[in-house]
């Protein structure tokens, strides 16, 4: 039945396009901000979030529960942020020599974020503690949801959050 299959495929594609637009208008900005807190390089946060949107669109036909599209999108953003961090670490290890500071094209909003004390303190945390703190206190997710996104247990999320919060307190106290 190729005709029916093509029709079904077209319907899924139309559905995915509509869902993509809706998800974009509702959540794009908050997801970019989430990525900005997870990544060391704020300039990459839009790229990561756009890649997550493209992947969710491609997997739309396989998505079992369409209502969980936002959760899926968040998880994809977290996973891509992790991958980006790993790649950056490898690139830094193999960099021949440090590049001179270049004038940023994104002076303005990004530099404001970079200069924020809490962002600087957040970047000094281990990756998992940073993820737990951001998902719990910025994305306002429950411990169970954060555990699902991070791929660990609720107890681990509690431990990461507690340690991360304590570390941030100490760092921010020192900056005051």
């Amino acid at each position: 039945m190729p005709a029916r299959s093509d029709a079904a495929r077209s319907a899924v594609a139309r559905d995915a396009d509509a869902a993509l637009t809706a998800l974009y208008s509702e959540h794009y900005r908050s997801l970019v901000r989430l990525a900005a807190l997870l990544l060391d390089d704020i300039g990459l946060c839009e790229e990561v979030v756009q890649d997550a949107y493209i992947r969710v669109h491609g997997a739309w036909g396989r998505l079992q529960d369409r209502d969980k599209a936002l959760a899926y999108l968040r998880q994809t953003v977290v996973n891509l942020a992790r991958s980006t961090l790993r790649r950056r670490l490898v690139a830094l290890k193999h960099a021949p020599k440090p590049m001179p500071d270049a004038a940023s094209a994104e002076e303005g909003a990004y530099s404001l974020v970079e200069r924020a004390a809490v962002v600087q303190a957040l970047r000094e945390l281990p990756r998992r503690q940073r993820e737990a703190v951001v998902l719990r206190y910025y994305a306002d997710m429950s411990e169970a949801d954060a555990a699902a996104v991070m791929g660990c247990s609720v107890g681990s999320v509690k431990a990461y959050t507690s340690r991360g919060l304590a570390a941030l307190s100490g760092k921010l106290e020192g900056l005051r």
Binding site: C45, I54, H57, G58, A116, V119, L122, R136, Y137, Y138
Partner: protein, 333 residues
């Protein structure tokens, strides 16, 4: 929990820190462009994947498809010219020696003066004389069916010739036993058993394990039937793949593994480590026999007839020649 930083304060700080971030105006456009790029990449990738999968399935089918016997081309080997001794005045008895029926001839060669070499083809269908009363089923068990195990190679033997009862050539004796009409050999190589079913096997029977051709793998000779003073035998051997198979004549040659004397016909076989020699004889007086000896090679494809010689046998040597002269036979149970 943390006296320095409350969760609510941290939430406020985080939101305030990222508040300046705005989405780029062309973000949605870039996402849609990425979706299109991904779509265009996926189509040829899926098509290529489908082609590769179809090719793999076709290859797997060709690899595992069993070859039917009708597709196997068996080229009968051309009969090489062999030298044999023929009495020049043999007269009518010369016929059965090389290709004649021989059942009723059996006249002694009368006074040949000098043997001379003649070139004759090896026997293909009637190298051994057969009488009309010979039971057909035991003959069929030794001359029909498939030959060897094909072209797979055998492992290297531990000793040449093989040690006692070492059918699989690993230097350790193997056990030969009977299971109904099946002759089973428990191979010490791998611990598995191979068997050959001999439907016409007459019990009780005897067997001998001997390396007939000295290749390091002992053959198993089993008496399949015994009628009218003629015993029929089957030759079993270790074949590639760790199986036991019956060595049968290649190309449908009539090579009869028999022993005994009946009326004016007699049969026997011998081995000396270089292969088998099948002997058939005819007699007109029951005392002297004109014999035809066919050298037989035991190959991976089966029994291959080789050189044919003739001679006269008389007196006491008749009982020795027309006997199963290959190994020591003992009861098989």
């Amino acid at each position: 929990m943390n006296s320095g930083l409350e969760p609510e304060e941290l939430t406020r700080l985080l939101r305030a820190a990222v508040e300046p971030i705005r989405a780029s105006p062309d973000a949605l456009h870039q996402i849609r462009a990425g979706v299109e790029r991904r779509r265009w990449w996926r189509m040829p990738l899926m098509a290529t994947g489908g082609v590769v999968m179809a090719a793999l399935i076709a290859l797997a089918f060709v690899a595992v498809r069993p070859q039917s016997s009708s597709e196997q081309v068996v080229e009968p080997a051309g009969p090489p010219l062999v030298s044999s001794m023929v009495e020049p005045t043999a007269g009518p008895s010369a016929g059965p020696s090389v290709g004649g029926g021989g059942s009723g001839g059996g006249t002694r060669p009368s006074g040949g003066t000098r043997p001379q070499h003649t070139t004759t083809p090896p026997p293909t269908t009637s190298s051994t004389p057969r009488t009309g009363t010979t039971p057909s089923s035991p003959v069929a068990s030794a001359t029909t069916g498939q030959g060897g195990s094909g072209s797979l190679s055998l492992p290297s033997p531990a000793h040449r010739p093989a040690l006692a009862n070492d059918v699989d050539g690993d230097g350790t004796a193997d056990t030969v036993r009977l299971n109904g009409t099946k002759v089973e050999v428990v191979f010490s190589r791998g611990g598995k058993a191979g068997s050959v079913d001999l439907p016409n096997l007459q019990l009780p029977t005897v067997h001998a394990v001997v390396d007939a051709n000295g290749d390091g793998f002992a053959e198993v000779l089993v008496r399949t039937s015994s009628r009218d003073n003629i015993d029929e035998y089957a030759l079993l051997r270790y074949a590639a793949g760790g199986v036991l198979s019956q060595a049968l004549p290649v190309g449908g040659a009539n090579l009869r593994l028999s022993a005994g004397v009946r009326d004016d016909s007699a049969f026997g076989f011998q081995c000396d480590g270089s292969g088998l020699r099948l002997i058939s004889g005819t007699s007109s007086d029951g005392i002297s026999y004109q014999t035809v000896t066919t050298a037989v090679q035991i190959t991976s494809d089966g029994l291959v007839a080789g050189q044919v010689t003739q001679e006269m046998v008389t007196g006491s040597s008749v009982g020795t020649v027309f006997a199963p002269g290959c190994g020591t036979f003992s009861a098989l149970s």
